[in-house]
Symmetry: C2
Subunit: 381 residues, 2 copies
């Protein structure tokens, strides 16, 4: 590869027009000249996470999407529901790059020692605009991957690993000893099981089918309860008694599940209660909602006393809250266990163009458990 190859590159863009039309396409953009402390990374692996889909397509009607442009430069258009447009005023008519995390090879480096030291290395990074062939980034914001680790190994180094570590870390910091996770057969959920098995943490996995339960049993999960089973309430309560879990991380969001979990926790706690309190137990029970697989309203029956909380949870505010030093410890653990605890599995590797093909969008935009796509923006380039 000549050193001139990376002077321009393709970048995936999502543009929401005032009319409500969403247009996703590839733009050919010049790569900025790196400053002294910056590097240019040729991106070779960047995953499609649920958190990327929000910016990429959001709640647009993809079933009725139109596909135009050329094979080399495809264009996808779809209509955003009017109700959803309201909350998106700030992104209207702004062509936005997409892609939270990725990994690749450093092909150019600024003059600083830190930048120069990374030349030719494979690095992982976060910060958006990863669905692109090249990305300029500060040397101190990337993490060099250990020898023998490929860009594909390191592409999902941030979102899922740190989210699942963030959950057990939040559990500890807020004084709980075990946790509950919903939509638990997801990539993230499987990773959380590996962490909990390794660290000896009790984990109650809530899934929505026997197939999902089987996935988790296969990787050694100890407590798996199926919300579609008639015995769900009893199964959940038993698992809560066995683990003592009083905090949950919920990817579903809408409906009655968060309230059911809190109710189960309260029943489990009261099985050992000695004294009547009309306010319920004084053990704090917490559900953090971090996803929105069900977009309906959250419905809380409040049959769980007064010591409870439900709230939103996001990775970045969590990392900010714990501070740089503690966040760095979590990152170091991820890199050390990238091929074991934090290994990601992809069902398909696609180019930027392939990522905009109808047949692929139909699969990865389902957000279904077990399907995970990786983009290699330099595939075939």
């Amino acid at each position: 590869m000549s050193s001139e190859n990376h002077k321009t590159g393709l970048q995936l863009r999502s543009l929401l027009k005032k009319s409500g039309e969403l247009e996703v396409s590839l733009a050919n953009v010049p790569t900025p000249e790196p400053k002294d402390d910056e590097i240019v990374v040729r991106i070779e692996a960047t995953p499609i996470n649920p958190s990327d889909l929000g910016l990429l397509f959001g709640p647009a009607d993809m079933a009725a999407a139109k596909f135009s442009g050329t094979q080399e430069s495809p264009v996808v258009t779809a209509q955003m529901p009017a109700a959803a447009l309201k909350g998106m005023a700030a992104r209207l008519d702004e062509s936005m790059p997409v892609g939270n995390e990725g990994a690749g090879v450093v092909v150019q480096a600024g003059a600083s020692e830190a930048a120069q030291a990374l030349m030719g290395k494979t690095v992982s990074m976060i910060g958006g605009a990863m669905y692109a062939q090249y990305r300029v980034v500060r040397a101190k914001d990337v993490m060099a991957l250990p020898e023998g680790t490929t860009a594909a190994d390191g592409a999902s180094w941030f979102v899922n690993p740190l989210t699942s570590l963030g959950m057990t870390e939040t559990m500890r910091r807020e004084g709980h000893k075990a946790l509950v996770h919903t939509a638990a057969a997801s990539n993230l959920g499987q990773m959380l099981n590996k962490i909990c098995l390794k660290d000896g943490i009790g984990l109650v996995n809530i899934v929505r089918s026997q197939e999902q339960a089987a996935i988790l049993h296969k990787i050694g999960a100890k407590h798996v309860v199926d919300s579609s089973a008639a015995s769900f309430t009893d199964d959940l309560t038993n698992a809560l008694v066995e683990t003592g879990a009083t905090i949950a991380f919920d990817a579903i969001g809408g409906g009655k599940l968060a309230g059911q979990i809190l109710t189960g926790m309260e029943i489990a706690i009261n099985k050992t209660a000695k004294e009547y309190s009309r306010y319920g137990s004084n053990v704090h029970k917490q559900v953090y909602i971090y996803g929105s697989l069900d977009t309906r309203a959250v419905e809380l029956n409040r049959a769980f006393g007064m010591a409870w909380g439900v709230g939103g949870w996001l990775l970045f505010p969590f990392l900010q809250k714990i501070g740089r030093a503690d966040a760095e410890k979590l990152r170091q653990r991820v890199v050390a266990e990238l091929k074991t605890t934090f290994a990601s599995h992809y069902t398909k590797v696609v180019s930027l163009q392939e990522a905009l093909q109808p047949s692929n969008i139909a699969i990865y935009n389902k957000r279904s458990t077990g399907e995970k796509f990786l983009i290699n923006p330099n595939k075939g380039a």
Copy 2:
């Protein structure tokens, strides 16, 4: 009064039988001999708070209550709904004394110096079993009232004053600068207005009628919004913009109000936002539910980003959390401002027997804004 008068006294009891029958009556109980560090208080004033009604009648069907016994020793029986019985297993067939807080005169004291020093003094106290003619309590657990303060002045020294101070204190400790209060025309709500006016804190009062709004305007409340008005959403948003309130204390509990408040806060915050975030603002918005005037489920539409929390809030866990020294500072403030900021107004003073009369129960068990009863267990005794 002879020193023997207080050797026995009447005590109000609430007994929930396994059958679901609730029986409220007066028992004649011996007054225990005080230990060295204890005193005997002749209770002269004890309020009926919403938090007392939970133990007294709970959700029993008082409209169909039966009244028997004699004028001197009335008995009230009512049926507890089967659904409510489930959560009350620990109180079944236990005759429970009632009454959180009260005040009265010390009529006997143990040998210790601290106990002896209180002899003849008017003191205020908490700890349950206040709906009684006499109460034995440790000297260090009461607070002597200043000269010129009657038992009636000091009876409501704890629950409402410390709950309202607990709200502004929680607001400060959790990094908010202004707050929202619902069912805001209540005794507690009026007290909160006095605190906020005195301390220069922005307060958004949410009421359910124009009559309630008028009560608050009369005492100088600056921001009053009526949830029954067609312009409620706009009025609320405007008040949130003007005050910058990002925390709310909600006595209603059920329905959509908590979600509406969070949505209003998010809209208010975004009026000054500069950058698009698909997760919404990163300003944390909190609603604490401390009452249950509406017993339906809480319904959260989640149109307010990811930086939010909803949870239960109770006075005692709050006081425990801040620790004895800080709690003591709040108590000192209450006693110092007992006749101004923390003055309570009662619509009626009743004896223990009168408290069990149908016409009185019908009024104080409505839990309606503006009605507050005080029991004087030694009235006419």
